[in-house]
Amino acid sequence: MKFLSARRRNPLVALFLLVAALGMTGVGYSVISSAKPAEAAMGSQTQVEDGKKLYLEGCSSCHGLDAQGTMNGPTLLGVGAASVHFQVATGRMPLAAPGAQAVAKDPIYDVEQIAAMSAYIASLAPGPAIPTAEDLSYEGADQAKGGELFRINCAQCHQAAGQGGALTQGKYAPSLMEATPQEIYEAMVTGPQSMPVFSNETLPIEQKQEITAYIMGLQEAPSPGGLSLGRLGPVVEGLFMWVAVFAALIAAAVWIGIKAR
């Protein structure tokens, strides 16, 4: 104590105290503020640490060392675990190449790695969580009602039968024929890329389940009439007739007209 009391009037003491106070405040704040999101994400501490390692290795070059975003990628603070799961599990992230939009491909991380990364991002700031099995259950949901909601909210981009469609300047709404209920749910609550957000307040979970039931019905529905032609309707059917069938008719007419040898 002699050492301290002897130097208590040293001009550097004020500076030392200031730094110590700032440091204590910072540490204290981070302990308090990190407590809640970690709880919300339900990710274990080791999962968060594993996720951080994977993040620094694979994502930080574009999204920044603290997920704050850079010139090459948006911030991931507040996007939530659902967004990470959607982007990585569908293979859209990590980005293969810059372009009009991220393309779905085979995921390069396994299920546990994706869960760890989701937990890490969710631990940074609160955001939409990964849906529970209960959220995703569409058993008994009204498919017809789901179809109506789909045509109001989704069909403008994804086409009435979920086949996907073009947006502006090379962007497109993907086909939903391979989408899982979890991906559908996560896309609706997080709004990846050009897609708007359909929050649980404006499109309640029951309605999301009805929409999921409709999409799953579309995925399972066979094509009783024969060639479905992308389920795009009479315009495509007419085009097919004009192009393919007329070509066949012309070929037949040519055969009729050729003189026999």
Binding site: Q156, T202, S223
Partner: protein, 366 residues
């Protein structure tokens, strides 16, 4: 070479005096090409083969007809088969279509094969007369017309002629009248006014579009709170009393005009609006009906704030007064001024300032 030489000779023949065919029908090179016998004409074996081919096609056609009947009875209507390229398709439809199509096709193909291989194929000249009528026919027709004119008295009875012209002139008016009103406007009401107004007015609560709203009472409808809509969010919405209006009108006209979309963006991203403070904390409301030909649009890209019409690719910038940035639409997307009511739900603050949807005759050119 010899063949070309021959046709050249034929050309000379055509101009030779006394060649009746040439002067009457003109020159036909085909008729002058020498007949070349087919394989089936010279080789009896080939002829028999062609005979078997034709008979085979007709027989196969019969077999396909029988197969059609069998398939119709035997194949379960709900059975599906996987066919590469086509995917899972209804087994019954595929087999019925193929067998019946093949049966019809084989009758035709057999007939053509028969005609081409076995029927005589000598070149013949078909005689045709000139296209123009004879002079005497023309004169007779003109005389007929004159006689009709005289006998009907069309020139003589002035009052009949004029009243007939009047009747013919007035006859299309009913069509124009009903087209103007499109059979929907109650008689005496101005269709332009009906097209220019929507159920939106000050204080009307905004509810999400959940499909069939017929008969839904405003009391049970769920409103939208500003905090329900995250940045980047999109909601297709309607006025709260649309269910009642729809039931009164027995049609979807009010719904067609009143459909709006709500989107939320960062307030700093809004570059301009159609009126001062028409947003609510970055939530903007626009008509859902394209100003080009009236397709409903909710194809909203949350990053660019562009609203794209899937019908003809008209693109509106919702961050910039809904102005047209691309496509055939001539007018911007009308914006609805919004705010919140005492209970904290989003409401319209005023009616649309301009008619929604596509142009019509009486619309002001703004």
């Amino acid at each position: 070479m010899t063949e070309i030489d021959h046709t050249h000779e034929g050309h000379d023949d055509a101009h030779a005096p006394g060649s009746e065919v040439a002067t009457k029908v003109g020159y036909s090179p085909v008729a002058d090409i020498p007949h070349k016998p087919r394989v089936t004409d010279t080789d009896p074996k080939a002829a028999r083969r062609a005979e078997r081919q034709v008979a085979g096609m007709f027989t196969l056609s019969m077999i396909f007809v029988i197969a059609f009947v069998v398939a119709y009875v035997a194949i379960d209507k709900n059975a599906y088969v996987y066919i590469p390229v086509l995917g899972d398709v209804g087994a019954s439809n595929v087999v019925l279509g193929f067998t019946f199509g093949a049966a019809v096709f084989l009758i035709g193909a057999g007939a053509i094969q028969w005609a081409k291989k076995l029927m005589p194929d000598v070149e013949v000249v078909q005689q045709r007369h000139d296209m123009a009528s004879d002079k005497s026919d023309e004169e007779a027709a003109a005389a007929n017309y004159e006689r009709g004119k005289d006998e009907s008295g069309f020139a003589r009875y002035k009052i009949i002629r004029r009243s007939l012209l009047g009747a013919m002139a007035l006859f299309p008016i009913p069509i124009i009248v009903v087209l103007r009103d499109l059979w929907i406007t109650p008689p005496g009401e101005n269709p332009a006014e009906i097209l220019s107004t929507t159920p939106w007015e000050d204080g009307v609560m905004i509810i999400p579009d959940v499909g069939d709203q017929t008969g839904l009472s405003p009391e049970t409808s769920r409103g939208i709170r500003p905090e329900d809509l995250p940045v980047g969010g999109l909601v297709s919405a309607l006025p709260v009393d649309i269910g009642v209006i729809q039931e009164e009108e027995h049609n979807l006209n009010a719904r067609g005009k009143a459909s709006i979309i709500l989107v939320r963006m960062d307030p700093s991203e809004i570059r301009s609006q159609q009126g001062e403070g028409w947003d609510y904390n970055g939530i903007v409301a626009f008509s859902k009906i394209c100003t080009h030909v009236g397709c409903p649009i909710a194809l909203y890209e949350q990053r660019t704030h562009h609203l794209l019409c899937p019908c003809h690719q008209s693109t509106f910038d919702l961050a910039d007064s809904g102005d047209v940035v691309f496509g055939p639409a001539a007018r911007r997307m009308p914006q609805l001024p919004i705010g919140v009511n005492a209970e904290g739900y989003l409401v319209a603050k005023a009616p649309f300032a301009e008619p929604v949807g596509p142009s019509f005759w009486e619309r002001d050119r703004t």
